[in-house]
């Protein structure tokens, strides 16, 4: 049989087979913790001082009982969930363990749907509204359309444009929301799920501490926000999840993903090297 090694279908097939093979026996492998992950955990654990606006530096003392944390599910969480699942679970577990008050907003219907299916029931059951935490240490605004325009309005008043939570309950009547309205002062920590623009709305003007979670490659387009000093830390991908599990001591499954990545990375590297050697030799011949 004449096999065409550059046939894309063959490449696709090899990648699939390796993924299936490595998934059968997930093995935990050693990983160094990268700088942005260390900083992420340090902010949650010890806090940080933000002074991007030099006029009024803001000190955050870490997540403690009653710390008001807003989670902005406003990036591509639904599309990236398979690369973010373990990290978000670990961080959420840690926030609850420390007694944080969590306010959740989803910027799109698919972002709301993915958390509804894979995260919210894990912590709050199938009927979150009836959970004892609801209204006390967790409130879900659900999908609200508006993106940046909402975040701009919410900095002075959340309730002025979004009077109800996702279930139609008036925010004014919810105990947790009593001192959670003007986000520029009422929010102690913002965690973005693959969210962008938080720096220009909250950090540059109000020095709000902002942490970011995304897929492995979200670091590509979030690099500016980290390198320029707006984001105080980042957790990226399943690898970031493994790092957070290690740093926080919360058990999880994130490190199981590393075997698969390693196997494919090795195969691709070998294919690139062999292809290039062939290319250089053929060029020399001609």
């Amino acid at each position: 049989m004449n096999i065409k090694w550059k046939d894309t279908r063959l490449i696709y097939l090899v990648i699939f087979l390796v993924i299936f093979g490595t998934s059968l026996t997930p093995i935990t492998l050693p990983l160094p913790v990268v700088q942005w992950s260390k900083e992420f955990y340090k902010v949650i654990d010890e806090g940080v001082t933000v002074s991007v606006n030099p006029d009024n530096p803001r000190h955050f003392a870490g997540v403690k009982e009653g710390t008001r944390v807003m989670i902005l599910n406003s990036g591509e969480t639904a599309k990236l969930w398979g690369d973010m699942s373990e990290a978000v679970k670990a961080v959420w577990t840690d926030l609850r363990r420390r007694g944080a008050h969590i306010l959740l907003w989803s910027s799109s219907v698919d972002n709301q749907a993915i958390l509804d299916k894979y995260l919210i029931p894990y912590f709050y059951g199938l009927d979150p509204q009836s959970h004892s935490d609801y209204g006390v240490s967790f409130v879900d605004l659900g999908f609200v359309a508006g993106g940046n325009a909402l975040l701009e309005q919410w900095r002075t008043s959340l309730r002025a444009i979004t009077p109800v939570d996702r279930y139609g309950n008036s925010l004014a009547d919810i105990p947790m929301m009593q001192n959670f309205d003007a986000m520029r002062i009422d929010c102690d920590l913002i965690i973005g799920l693959d969210a962008r623009g938080l720096e220009s709305i909250y950090v540059i003007r109000y020095n709000t501490p902002v942490l970011e979670m995304g897929g492995t490659d979200s670091a590509g387009y979030l690099a500016l926000s980290y390198t320029a000093g707006y984001f105080q830390g980042m957790i990226m991908g399943q690898r970031g999840g493994a790092e957070y599990e290690f740093l926080s001591g919360i058990p999880g499954r994130a490190s199981a993903y590393m075997l698969n990545s390693m196997a494919i990375a090795l195969i691709v590297t070998v294919a690139i090297v062999v292809g290039n050697i062939q290319y250089l030799m053929s060029r020399r011949e001609t």
């Binding site: 993924i19 998934s23 997930p26 398979g82 690369d83 219907v109 139609g168 490659d217 670091a219 494919i264």
Partner: protein, 230 residues
């Protein structure tokens, strides 16, 4: 409350995921079925979510001025269907767009200024910040437009291009690795989820093998082929 169709969902879930991949082999009815379903269900859900936004948030905000104007703008959008009133629709859509630009335009300037200052103030505070500052300056030089500047700055623009390409090279690998996790997440779910659904991708794979080597039945004729046959 759960849906009566919930027990079927793990199977549908796995079928949709892996049938979407079958297009990598070739265009086929399975892929087109899934594609049509994703578009249709997405459209229907999006429609209902917008109705919910109106009922849950807009209507309770009436008669506040912003809610009333929003309602008027909503009606204005529908003027797209009335040729004589098309300019009313245009006014509404241009307002939406310019308000959008008005919100985000200062963001760009704010980041431009504070980030540049940051790179500058940290330039000699360590190797990393020094490299970052220089690379930022080189990267910016790539985007110079004038032909007059192009010649004397050509070496800088070339170096700037290399800096942008370093980003590209790193990004390509990280993207591939990140998206790989998505596949494994679903594969793990198919293998170890309850119920286990691994036989669905295997079944699709067997179908593809039969099509490739035994009996070709997964074909969808291209429009051009249909035309030439006609």
């Amino acid at each position: 409350m759960s849906s009566p169709i919930e027990p079927l969902m793990p199977y549908l879930n796995t079928f949709v995921f892996f049938a979407a991949y079958s297009v990598l082999y070739k265009d086929n009815p399975m892929y087109r079925f899934v594609q049509s379903l994703v578009v249709g269900i997405g459209a229907g859900f999006l429609f209902m979510a917008q109705i919910d936004q109106i009922v849950r948030i807009l209507v309770p905000s009436l008669p506040q001025p912003h809610a009333v104007i929003a309602l008027v703008m909503g009606v204005a959008f529908f003027c797209i269907f009335i040729p004589g009133l098309i300019n009313i629709y245009r006014a509404a859509s241009i307002l939406v767009m310019t308000v959008g630009i008005g919100i985000v335009l200062p963001y760009g300037v704010a980041i431009t200024w504070t980030a540049t200052l940051g790179y500058s103030q940290r330039l000699f505070t360590g190797l990393g910040p020094f490299v970052a500052g220089i690379c930022y300056a080189l990267g910016m030089s790539y985007f110079l437009f004038t032909g007059r500047l192009e010649k004397p700055t050509a070496p800088l623009r070339t170096l700037g291009r290399v800096v942008l390409l370093v980003y590209t090279a790193m990004c390509i690998s990280m993207t591939a690795l990140g998206k790989l996790n998505l596949i494994q997440w679903k594969v793990l779910d198919a293998l170890w989820g309850i119920p286990s659904t691994w036989f669905i991708p295997v079944g699709i794979f067997v179908l593809i093998l039969i099509d490739a080597f035994v009996y070709p039945f997964l074909g969808v004729k291209k429009a051009k082929e249909v035309e030439s046959e006609a």
